[in-house]
Amino acid sequence: VKIATTLLTLLLPSAALASQIHVVPFSPTSATPIEVHYLSSCRARTHSIARDGREIVITALDPQCPAVLPIPIVEKVKLPEVLPIGVYHVTIQEVGGMDFAVRNAGPKPFELHPSAMYPNDGLPVRMSGVRCGKADCSDVTVRVENEPVAITVGDDGAIWFTAPDHEQGLVDVTVQKADFVTISPGALYYFGRQDYLAAYEPILFPVLFAADGAYGSRWRAEATVSNPAPWTVHADYTLHNIGPCIQDCDPPFEPKSFEKFLGAAYPRGTVLWAPRSEASHLAVALRIRDVSRQEVGYGTEVPVVRERDFVHGSNIHLLDVPLDPRYRVKVRIYMIEPVLAPSTGGAVRIRRGTEVLELPFTLTHRQVFAIEPYYAEVDLPQGVAGERVNLDISMPLDAIGWAFASVTNNETQQVTIIAPQ
């Protein structure tokens, strides 16, 4: 059962993210403008948008469809208003539909961690910001959608309760103290598997491996994750280098914990999916180091890529990359599970004077571990001494992508990372 559960967890992101429609941002709030993206083979002149309560209908007007060989495009439709808290259904006429939740961006009378969970997770939830009159908070009643829940009080005075089972959707939480009731609208989000990206934020560790390289080098990656918060973070990840796993493969990040992960088998990178309400609290770091020459230096920091650092549907630019034959340069390209992308191809373009060199790549995926990103790598050709170029990396349609170049000195094995900035 545990093996099945583990595999299911690992496969969840890919199963959940494949869709013809999605909203941007993935987790909209009552303060964020929303854009609906969908795949089409026709370019509409414009769109009509009708909203009736929680139902939104988008219709493409005067679509121009090529007569032969339709080429998929991504249509992007801005909603004309920010939406109040709630769960909505958007329908694209003749394409399909999807549900999405709009969460509260306004002031909250109390904080809940975690604030998103599967319907039957039964996770412990920490509530802070409530002042109790009694040490055991017996003067306070907490209700999850009008149903009182049993509470306990932590050492720091915070209230804890177990999230009751609930069907998918947003749920109000209220706190009553004597006759005074405070309400936090949509404070808990019970999400389904199809809403994975709305509830979890991808944090990419681009390389996490231990391997021997050229010229006697022995590369080791060292990742660190710190959870300074006083609550547990239930993330989906596979950073531990534990091989086949039966039980407690990747345990939650305990409160006020600091963990190191050494050289797991992810040369193509791995994604830590953190609950969105907790992701910004986690601190992360990653370094690669040639331990055969560890007296030479402390290694090279590799950026850990948070969602805000990914490009979404645009090209990636890497500047001032050397083609000098003293170095070997490898470009690594990543894509989070295709949200819309029907193809997985792209190209690295290098302009050298008037000539443009195009190096195509195909992003591939090891299906067993869906928690790995789609990945491709391109070795740049050698140029003349001192030559530097800019790279223009085109990605699949509307891809959530990232890339970096590693520049390795052939003699000293010193590595320089060139990441998009």
Binding site: P33, S280, H281, D320, T412, Q414, Q421
Partner: protein, 444 residues
């Protein structure tokens, strides 16, 4: 306790100064509002808040804060953040004026711009245009390749002779105008005319920078100089504008011999420059229009040219405003204090003051935490001060062989954007490793 005492000290210094009358004391969330985003104003007052009111008269938003205690009893002064919900505003230029208690004067005020966020059939770039554009070409494109007959910028019609079609888009020189937002009206060859409300923002170089229009992009080190053990350090930087329209920045950060304006501020389409930075060992920001900043690309490396045969240097992040930290401690994990390395912590904050930073070194149970107060300063001339961060640095004390620590930095206050990194230099090889701040959770 030391932390609290220090914070109180810094805060008292900060608020004892007559800074409340300056523009920067009111911040916006989001920092660059649009016609679709609800706006919160963050107003920093002393002595707490009993209540506040918001009234809007035309384009002036008046916020009155009733302090929680009488001002004369407010000793020591404690800063208090009042979050004022303004709601959604139509496209336009606005001014917030804040009054506190019984004072008739306006203790704080600031201007801001609300941009259009509606989906339109046409787009025009760049958004920010100097009042005297000196040939800056605007780029007008249509989502469906519509042909354009006439274009008006405000009430000025662009002559047909100046309207050029390139790669499906139209370009034309921006007309000279006075400061402020202006609509652009497009008359297509087929169909009705389209108005883009507040499509361009004309700004005056001499006027204070509007932070709702421009953002600061930090280059943490731009310098050349000799270091220890015969090292010769150089910052190698690059800037590219891959967009098909020009971007006009408020300042420039690369060496430029200027005879006529624009003096390096204009980044033409497909612009690229690589340069050896110098003169800013404590960092400088490129002040770029927010609407175009995301499309710019950067690169920055530090390199010991005395050992250039050994490597290509070390990348130092160029930090956009959205990557800086606000109202939270900065965390740097797994920093070596091994005596084979020298480790320097560099800290930056904008909209701050000469208050200092507070650094805690957490030795992970092997020894008690150590705390340091680090003064932060900046040196700038009047025009460039917006671009110069408040800066402090600390050489971490050496520990045991292979010892690593976590470092927490308290810098900045009242929504000021802050950032930090540690440079770890091998004493023999001069190889540099950079560790940057990550995470908003602060110290466990």
């Amino acid at each position: 306790v030391r932390r609290v005492v220090w914070r109180c000290f810094a805060v008292c210094l900060f608020f004892a100064a007559p800074l409340l009358a300056q523009d920067g004391r009111i911040t916006l969330d989001p920092p660059a509002p649009t016609s679709l985003t609800p706006i919160d104003a963050h107003v920093f007052v002393l002595c707490g808040e009993k209540s506040h009111t918001v009234t809007r008269v035309g384009n002036v938003i008046k916020i009155h804060v009733e302090p929680g205690v009488q001002v004369e009893l407010c000793d020591p002064p404690v800063p208090y953040l009042v979050r004022v919900s303004i709601g959604t505003l139509p496209v336009g230029e606005y001014r917030i004026e804040v009054t506190v208690g019984a004072l008739d004067s306006i203790p704080a005020s600031r201007a801001f711009v609300v941009r259009d966020a509606a989906q339109r059939d046409f787009e025009i770039h760049p958004f920010a245009v100097p009042t005297n554009p000196f040939g800056l070409r605007l780029h007008l494109s249509s989502t469906h390749d519509a042909e354009v007959d006439r274009v008006f910028v405000g009430d000025v019609e662009i002559s047909q002779a100046n309207l050029t079609r390139e790669n499906g888009a139209y370009t034309f020189p921006a007309p000279t105008r006075g400061r402020g937002l202006v609509d652009v009206r497009i008359v297509p060859k087929a169909g009705d005319s389209v108005t883009l409300p507040g499509a361009l923002y004309y700004y005056d170089f001499g006027a204070p920078i509007d932070n709702s229009v421009f953002e600061r992009i930090l280059f943490p080190v731009l310098f050349q100089g000799a270091g220890a053990h015969g090292s010769q350090w150089v910052s190698e930087a690059a800037i590219a504008n891959p967009q098909p329209w020009a971007v006009e920045t408020v300042n420039h950060v690369f060496p430029f011999v200027c005879i006529f304006y624009p003096c390096g501020e204009r980044l033409d389409p497909e612009f690229f420059i690589s340069f050896s930075g110098h003169g800013y060992p404590h960092g400088i920001a490129l002040i770029a229009p927010r609407a175009e900043a995301d499309g710019l690309s950067f690169s920055l490396r530090v390199r010991d040219t005395a050992r250039s045969a050994e490597g290509y240097g070390t990348q130092v992040p160029v930090v956009r405003e959205g990557q800086m930290f606000r109202n939270t401690d900065l965390t740097l994990l797994d920093i070596p204090i091994d005596p084979r390395y020298r480790t320097k912590l560099r800290m930056y904050a904008f909209d701050y003051g000469e208050h200092g930073a507070y650094v805690t070194i957490d030795r992970a149970g092997s020894a008690p935490s150590e705390s340091f107060f680090v003064p932060v300063r900046r040196t700038c001339d009047f025009n460039l001060c917006e671009a110069i961060p408040w800066y402090g640095e600390l050489d971490l004390p050496s520990g045991n062989v292979d010892e690593r620590v976590n470092v927490y930095v308290t810098i900045g206050d009242a929504d000021s954007p802050a950032w930090a990194f540690a440079s770890i230099t091998n004493n023999e090889t001069q190889q540099v490793t950079i560790v940057t701040a990550d995470g908003e959770g602060g110290r466990p």
